[in-house]
Structure formats: C-alpha cells, structure tokens
Point group: C2
Chain length 366, copies 2
Amino acid sequence: MARKRRRKKVQSRRREETIKALTDLGNRIYNMMRNGEFPYLKLPSRSVSNIIYSEEERGYVLGSKTKVRSAANFMHLKKFAQFVWIAYFTKELLVNKKTSTLRDVYYSSQAYGVDFEEQSESDELIMDLESLIGRPREDMNIFPAERAAIFGDLTIEYTVPGYEGKKINLTTHPDGLMIGHSLRTSEFVETSAERVFVIEKDAIFNRFIEERIYQKYKAILISTSGQAPRAARYLIRRLNQELGLPVYIFTDGDVWGLHIAGVIIYGSANSAHVRDLHTPDAKWIGVWASDIEKYKLPTDPFTEVDMKRLQELMRDPRYKGELWQRELEKFRKLKKKSELEAFSRYGLTYIVDTYLKNKMEEINSL
Amino acid sequence: MARKRRRKKVQSRRREETIKALTDLGNRIYNMMRNGEFPYLKLPSRSVSNIIYSEEERGYVLGSKTKVRSAANFMHLKKFAQFVWIAYFTKELLVNKKTSTLRDVYYSSQAYGVDFEEQSESDELIMDLESLIGRPREDMNIFPAERAAIFGDLTIEYTVPGYEGKKINLTTHPDGLMIGHSLRTSEFVETSAERVFVIEKDAIFNRFIEERIYQKYKAILISTSGQAPRAARYLIRRLNQELGLPVYIFTDGDVWGLHIAGVIIYGSANSAHVRDLHTPDAKWIGVWASDIEKYKLPTDPFTEVDMKRLQELMRDPRYKGELWQRELEKFRKLKKKSELEAFSRYGLTYIVDTYLKNKMEEINSL
C-alpha cells in the first residue's frame, strides 16, 4: 500500500472570501453614493483584443485594458443597475446556501422586477462579475449542467449544506461519481493515487475502471465526456496542485481531441477572465497523429471542418511548442483521424495492455 | 419513519438468462449445420409498418411480421455471418464480464476479421439481436454514454464484478449518482420512499435536492437531462413495478417536454423491439400548456419546428388520451412554450413551495 497523501482544508475559505468580495463591492458603490458621487465600476475588458497568452501563468489571461461603467452615463444606467442586482443575487445565493444556473438567474431577475431582454444579457453581466472579483461563477453558486465523472482511491470530505464533514471514497460507486457542485468543492482527505488519467471518452473511462487501471497504475480516473466542463478543469488543477499528482490526458486522435487537451492545460479564451481552471503541467499523451501510424489504427478522412480547425490551431499561441507543432504537422500530412475506441480493433484490452503500457514506459524513461 | 420496502433479488438472474438465450441461438445454428441444412434465422421485422401501439402492453411493440435471413441466400450470407459474430461477441462480453459500446463493437469486429463498412451496419445487427432474443443491448453489456442521475433514500446492492454484495444508499452523494451500468443492474434493498419524481432538467433536479424534496415528499428524484436514456427508463420502470412506487414526470412546458414524458410512459418507436423500458402507470404532471396560463409563466413563441412537432404529436396514437389532447390543443392555441426554470420569476423556491405543492394536492384529491 502506497503512502497516503493528505492535505489541510483550504476549500471552505473560498465561500467566505467570495461573500467578502461581493460585500466589498456593495460597500464601494454605497459609499460613492453617500459621498454624493455617481457610482461607477472599472471592469477588466473581456474583448478578444484583451485576451493574451501569459508565459508566467502558462495560460490565457486578460490584459490590462479596462472599461468603465458609470451610473452618471445615461447609456450605462440600465446595465449598471442590472449588474448591481446580479452581484446582490449571487451574494444572496451564497448566504442562503442556494444554487442556481445561468438560465435560472435570468428568470429570477423577473422576481425582482429587473428586466433582461434575453439570457445573453444576464450571462454577460455574470461574466463581468467573474472578471471583476476574479472568481468563477461556480464560486457564486451558479452552475452549469455538468456531467464529467471521477473514479479512484481518493477520499473526499463534503462541504455542502447537510453533508459537512461526511466522507466518501471515490471508488464507492463503480460507475464513477459525477463532478458536480459537491465534488468540486469537497476537501481532499486521503489518497494512495500517484497520478491522474483524464479521458475524453466515457467508453474508455469505463474500460479503465473495468480493467482496474486505477489499481494497476495507482491512478485517479476522470472522464470529461468531450470538452472538459469547468468543474472538471478546476478539479484536475486541484488534484495536480494540492496533491502534487501528475496529470495525463487521453483524447481521440484528431484536432478536437488535441484542443480538449489544450484547454485543460492552457485554459480557454472564454474563461480567460477567471483563474484556477488550467493545469500547465498536465501532459497530452495521446492519441497522437503519430500513434495513428504507429498502431495502424482504423481512420476516417479529415473533413473540411477538420482542416479549417487544424489551420486555426496551427496559428494558436498555445500550440507553438514542439510536441503540438509536430503532431499538428503530422495531422496536416495524414489528413486522417482516429478515435480512442479504435484500439478495440486489436481486442478490448489492447488499449490498456499495450497502448497505455507503452505510453507510461515512454514517460518513465524521460 | 415510513415503513421500509424491500424486495427479493431478480436482477442477477438476467445475466444467466441472456447467456442462455445466446447459447441457445448458437446451438440452433450449429444443429442446422450438423443436419446438413443451410442455417437461417427468423427475425421480427423492425420496419415502421410493423411498429404498433399495443393496448395490452400500453406501449409500442413489434407486430407479427418477420424477415428470414438465410445462409442459403447469397445476398444474406455476409449479414448472416456478421450477425453470428455479434451474438458470439456479446456472449463473450457477458461470460468475461466486460462491457462495451456500440462504437466499440464496431471497432472490435476488426479484431476478428469481421468487416463492417460503417458503424450503422453493426448497430443494425445489434438491434436485430435485441429483437430476436427480446432483450435490450444493455443486457448484453453494450452501453451508451448515459448521464441521467438519481438521488433519494433507496439502498441498492451492486451486482457488477468486484462490487457484488456491496451496498450504497442513494443519498450518499449530494450531486446524485449517475444512472450507469452498475446502478441499472443493482438490486433494490430498502427504501422509505413513497413516490418517484422524474425531472427533465438538471437545474430543477438539483433544486429539489437542495430543498429536501426527497424528505418532504418521501420521493426518489431522477434527472433525465433531456430525453431519458434507456438506462433511466429501465430504472424508472423497475422502481414502479418492483417497488410499487407511483411515478410523476416534470418536463419543460413544450411539445418536446410532453414527448419526453410520453416516451417514458409508452416507449419509443426506436426501442419498440425491446421490453421493460416503458412505465404505463407513470403520470406527466407538468409543465402543462394550461400551467403556463395558470401561473403566468414567462414564455417564448413557438417556432416552425415546434409547430411541426405539435402536428406530428397530435396524430400520434400514444397521445389520443384526454389529457394529452387537451394540452396539445392548448399548445396549438397558445403557440407559446415555457421552461421549468421559468418558475424562478417568482423566486427560487416557488417551484417547490407552490407549484409542486399544488400538483401533489391535485393528485391526492383524485
């Protein structure tokens, strides 16, 4: 039995900090009004021209451009009021320990006589709030419908209402547990795991469980079900940073799979304004274009959409590194793609007995 | 504390029965060949003209038309061989306690030198096998990526390898448990629940958990995340039939939501050839078109696609009952739709404090 890893609680502080940030925001506005000033806010600009790749963060971040939203400007007045309501509402959610979704916030506004024409308007203001206080909307109890899953020897302790202090080991349920609100915010108590395998496809995630890869490789398994939801990206980062576990990403062998790995590693433009969602030390270890050749996998030809996406990714600053360029170039020449399930052409367990084994040997020999 | 419900094991017999059905099939083919005959199979026809609504089953079933696939017919030969391989492969899955997916079976065929041009071909033969032995592909360990979830006071006992005899209560994980392979095939051990609430939207499923509806109404909660996956439909039926729990379905107030309820209650044309997926006694209790008016919900106008779907459903034999016709007619007049989240216009807990309460009172007064 491997040495167990433990950690101290940090997660439970986040809720208090977020409430404080929202309260400070309210006080700032209140004080401006008490001083006879029109209240205003300076918000980081989230326009494309202000999204930059940071060498230091090794991910996308916002640049230094800001925009001012002032109650003194008639054109800003409605948005300013709506923004104040959004901040108020999220604080209410946190204080009352209720959760919500983007859609739900949009409808809730009507309970307060705050009118949005469309959901996109309230979504925008929630992103403004995220960028202003530097925390993702999940920290304000606004959640998407997320369905990524996790399995492995990790004991967590819940922090959600009614479950505080309750523990569960992530091998308890053989289908894996969904990475939802309570998992995302749980404390890590103990693990014997030495690495994390992140897998794009549920079918392969299930195969890894079935073949007991979590025991053989002392691995925590995560299924992203396609592009990783934010809760999964946040959890992957925590596993890497809090427990010091190396992270290895398995995707389909196509440009979309490559980009799924890239978003986990570097972050996405859409969430450049929030922190703690990327894992710069995570490694994409397959399926590479070169694996398609090496393992003679069944392929499908690239479509026009694949080619267009390839061109975009070749110009993307995240993918200027050697491995990315080599594999993108190889895809460009091959004009073919392959899925994780394609290894089954050699039998159901080939992907673990041969492919995974080879990949881990390569890594250990570096 | 309510009286606990218990049941005896029936689930574990299914695997043995499926293996036996596949073995019998193999023996039948083998014996025909030993007798010097060209082997053939008589399969239920799955063509649209053979899908009928059965008053007795209260759901879609296949009619009496059959098709013959014979090795004596040169045109059938390839399909016949492929079909035999599919049956062989699924038996191997069951015997070795491995699982697979439709995609995976397609690729696996190449490991045996069995060639399919496209996945749709192997999918078709798997459906043929389902209809021949009268069991869904899940009974042959072929699973889709399913992400419906369940939460409530129900203790289950796993039957999957490595977990036999282990028990878990479905309130253990506050995000709910995914309805995957191991949940689908678990034994129901004990419950204090008196009803099942099936909910189309994850956001409302989570609200129901948060507001402790599972305690207040002694309810097991199921989220279908849109159209209910087969595993969820199978589990809903089991909860109804094995535990005798009434089932109430909440969907968005539109024709798509109505049809989600309809598929849970009556089954779908796509799975007319398999049994045990529909729950004729389940009730659709909202959001009705009449609720949209009654509760003055925010609405969106019907699109052309909505109108087209409405016309189709009005002609559908499943919806000839009074409630369905009344609500379809009301939708036709309103030309508006509304979502479950729309209740938040009256505050986050209105949907449980008022809407759910009213609906349950209506039901109890019947």
